[in-house]
């Protein structure tokens, strides 16, 4: 029973980790309709920023989020403006995908050039402290990630549903041409959305960096799972990404313990395929509940 609880909690913590790095990805996809293959590298970039700020300025890693998230926002806006937007009129949408793949490779090699291949350690600053809840152990940092991922998801939903800008963003997602006719600056909304998506992953970087050593390839460690999470949750659904992340985290943890680490990915991706076959649009494919919004 104790072991079961530990496996369960480990799964939830893993789910929270996947959720916090996936939310920005689904946001960008849902609205700009671009699969951002550089998402993992945005995380990597954020983690290096956290590393630099904490080690040079001695600021607590969690506090770096107020600097890193805005910086990543700018990176996101610039990516949309200078990489994606020029390709918007391209006949084939896939060109944008290739552009983000190129951006991802460029960023990895840039990081190799600047920081070298070795790992960079952000000081954990107390976030590695184990906390015992009954027989179950978690890290303080993992609880922070869980809390932060919930705040992020709820906050984003509220922003999209309750604010004027959020409504405009959703209008663009729903019907680009109509939104433009209503006087919404579509390009500006795309830049804003890409910026917000990148800021989300920058925010995540502040939580993730104290627990995971940073390296140029760290993004690829998270991004494959992030894609699975986002597709499983229903592309573009912020709440779906959270639920998808929890499901993947739990399956990963239980399969890893009860079946074996070597078959973990077989099980995770097997279940993933099964769900998609049964419900091709993903589990929560309401696309930011757009059906409830009048244009």
């Amino acid at each position: 029973m104790e072991t079961f609880l530990q496996v369960l909690v480990s799964g939830l913590m893993l789910g929270a980790l996947f959720a916090i790095v996936s939310v920005g990805l689904t946001m960008i996809f849902g609205i700009v309709k671009v699969v951002n293959f550089a998402h993992g590298e945005f995380l990597m970039l954020g983690m290096y920023l956290v590393y630099l700020i904490t080690t040079k300025l001695g600021i607590h890693p969690l506090l770096t989020s107020v600097i890193v998230a805005p910086l990543l926002f700018l990176v996101g806006v610039a990516t949309q403006r200078f990489v994606i937007q020029p390709l918007m009129s391209a006949k084939d949408d896939h060109v944008q995908i290739f552009a983000t793949v190129g951006l991802s490779t460029a960023l990895i090699n840039l990081a190799l050039l600047v920081f070298g291949a070795d790992i960079a350690n952000t000081p954990p600053s107390g976030l590695r402290m184990p906390i015992a809840i009954g027989p179950v152990r978690v890290l303080l940092g993992q609880l922070v990630i869980l809390g932060a991922s919930i705040v992020l998801v709820v906050g984003l939903q509220a922003f999209l549903k309750r604010t004027q800008t959020g409504r405009a963003i959703r209008a663009v997602a729903q019907n680009r041409a109509a939104a433009q006719l209503m006087g919404i600056n579509v390009n500006r909304m795309y830049m804003l959305t890409f910026g917000i998506g990148a800021a989300c992953v920058g925010f995540a970087a502040s939580m993730v960096a104290p627990l995971y050593p940073t390296s140029p390839n760290i993004g690829t460690y998270f991004v494959l799972t992030a894609f699975v999470v986002v597709v499983l949750g229903g592309l573009g659904s912020v709440g779906g990404a959270f639920a998808g992340a929890m499901i993947i985290g739990l399956i990963d943890s239980f399969a890893g313990f009860y079946i074996g680490s070597d078959v973990r990915e077989v099980v995770v991706f097997g279940v993933f395929l099964l769900i998609l076959i049964l419900k091709p649009s993903g589990l929560f494919s309401d696309r930011l509940n757009l059906s409830h919004v009048s244009p």
């Binding site: 072991t3 530990q6 496996v7 480990s10 893993l14 980790l17 090699n109 190799l112 070298g116 291949a117 070795d118 790992i119 350690n121 590695r128 184990p130 152990r137 890290l139 995971y212 050593p213 390296s215 140029p216 390839n217 760290i218 690829t220 460690y221 998270f222 494959l224 799972t225 990963d252 943890s253 239980f254 399969a255 890893g256 313990f257 074996g260 680490s261 070597d262 973990r264 990915e265």
Partner: protein, 400 residues
């Protein structure tokens, strides 16, 4: 019948005039100098460079100055391309390399077809020398030596240290699922069975994992006293941290090179957590120098040339291999491929006579039969040689 002969004569004439034009003898240095593996690729190449400097200071090979021509093996395809360039355009007499097993395997195929000797100084996969190539030689210890030494250490040191018979220990083997982890763990399993050890868990995982907690729980449940992990850096850090956080304290953890040999790993994990963790890898620098004559001189030469201490034992092991081969070629008959091969085959350096400790004598497959790794332990934040006894600087600590 005459035409081919004439062609041969012309070819020979061109080759002769080419070598006469340069008063140097060229060798290829094929390593990953950029890309993901650049750090240790470059570190490896530095060992070769120091060996060449020494040979040149001693008057070169057959009175000619040795010149290295670099080839950047960023990935397998480029390794092949660069090997072709070194052989056909640069006309190197032989290629040295490569650090990465996959690149070595790809590039050596090119060299073999061209009949140019290929000297591997640092890659550890079995396949480097198990393919029956005529011109391929490897000086460094490989996966099999690693697996063997890890199990020897368990039997000779850890079991007696714990007051147990080797057969009573519970062994858990975990490894990253690419060819590196798979081949080392296979050798570990084979030797462990040979020695009658009890393996209670054996599991692979992808090196790109972000969570090992379920694996840690499994080992804990299986009651593994000794954990053998073959891993890169990220997964070494993850395992050690998550085992510590789960309150799992096996009597011994032994890493197979990779992340376990690197200082940033210890810094990431925490020096208190990594204390007493063992590691088997290439000879590093905190060893008993009686067993490794020339090591101090190497470190001095390295510091003088590059302005810092060596960053890992890769440079040392490349230096030892390159030095032995270059000296042998100098003593040999000439610089044509077959004379080089003959010269290298006659190398017979006993154990304890090189700066890495191991001797050099090639088997029929081109593998250095005397190559051996070294057992080390993290003590006080440093990786110190503890096994075998001749090379040990300090005692191997078992349990706290």
């Amino acid at each position: 019948m005459k035409l081919p002969n004439m062609l041969k004569m012309t070819a020979a004439a061109i080759v002769l005039s080419a070598t006469a034009a340069h008063a140097d003898v060229k060798f290829g240095a094929l390593y990953p100098f950029s890309g993901q593996l650049a750090l240790l690729g470059e570190e490896s190449a530095r060992g070769l460079e120091i060996a060449v400097d020494e040979i040149n200071a001693e008057g070169g090979i057959h009175g000619e100055k040795v010149v290295l021509v670099k080839g950047d093996a960023v990935d397998n395809n480029q390794a092949i391309g660069e090997a072709r360039r070194l052989i056909s355009l640069e006309k190197v007499a032989a290629i040295f390399g490569t650090y990465s097993s996959a690149r070595s395997i790809a590039a050596s195929q090119v060299a073999e077809l061209s009949g140019i000797p290929y000297f591997e100084l640092g890659a550890v996969a079995d396949e480097v020398t198990s393919r029956g190539l005529k011109y391929m030689f490897r000086t460094n210890p490989y996966a099999k030596d690693m697996g063997k030494m890890i199990i020897d250490m368990v039997v000779d040191k850890i079991a007696p240290g714990l007051g147990k018979k080797p057969g009573d220990l519970k062994i858990g083997i975990i490894y990253e699922d690419s060819s590196y982890g798979t081949s080392v763990s296979k050798h570990e399993t084979d030797y462990a069975k040979e020695k009658g050890l009890n393996i209670v868990a054996s599991s692979s995982y992808p090196a790109s994992t972000v969570d090992m907690s379920s694996l840690v729980l499994q080992l804990k449940q299986a009651g593994a006293d000794v954990v053998l992990q073959t891993s890169y850096q990220n997964d070494s850090v993850l395992f050690l941290q998550q085992a510590n956080e789960a309150g799992y304290k096996p009597a011994a953890v032994i890493g197979g090179g990779g992340g376990y040999s690197m200082q940033p790993t210890a810094d990431a994990v925490g020096h208190d957590v990594i204390e007493n963790v063992l590691d088997v890898d290439f000879t590093q620098f905190l060893v008993n120098t009686k067993a490794t004559p020339g090591l101090e001189a190497f470190v001095e030469a390295y510091k003088k040339k590059y302005g810092s201490a060596p960053r890992s034992g890769h440079s040392l092991n490349n230096y030892v291999g390159a030095k032995a081969i270059l000296e042998a070629i100098d003593k040999g008959k000439g610089l044509d491929p077959d004379s080089i091969v003959d010269a290298v085959k006659s190398i017979d350096i006993p154990d304890g006579k090189t700066a890495a400790g191991y001797g050099i004598k090639f088997g029929a497959d081109g593998q250095n039969e005397r190559a051996a790794m070294m057992g080390m332990q993290w003590q006080g934040g440093k990786l110190i040689a503890v096994y075998p006894d001749a090379a040990a600087v300090t005692k191997l600590n078992v349990a706290k």
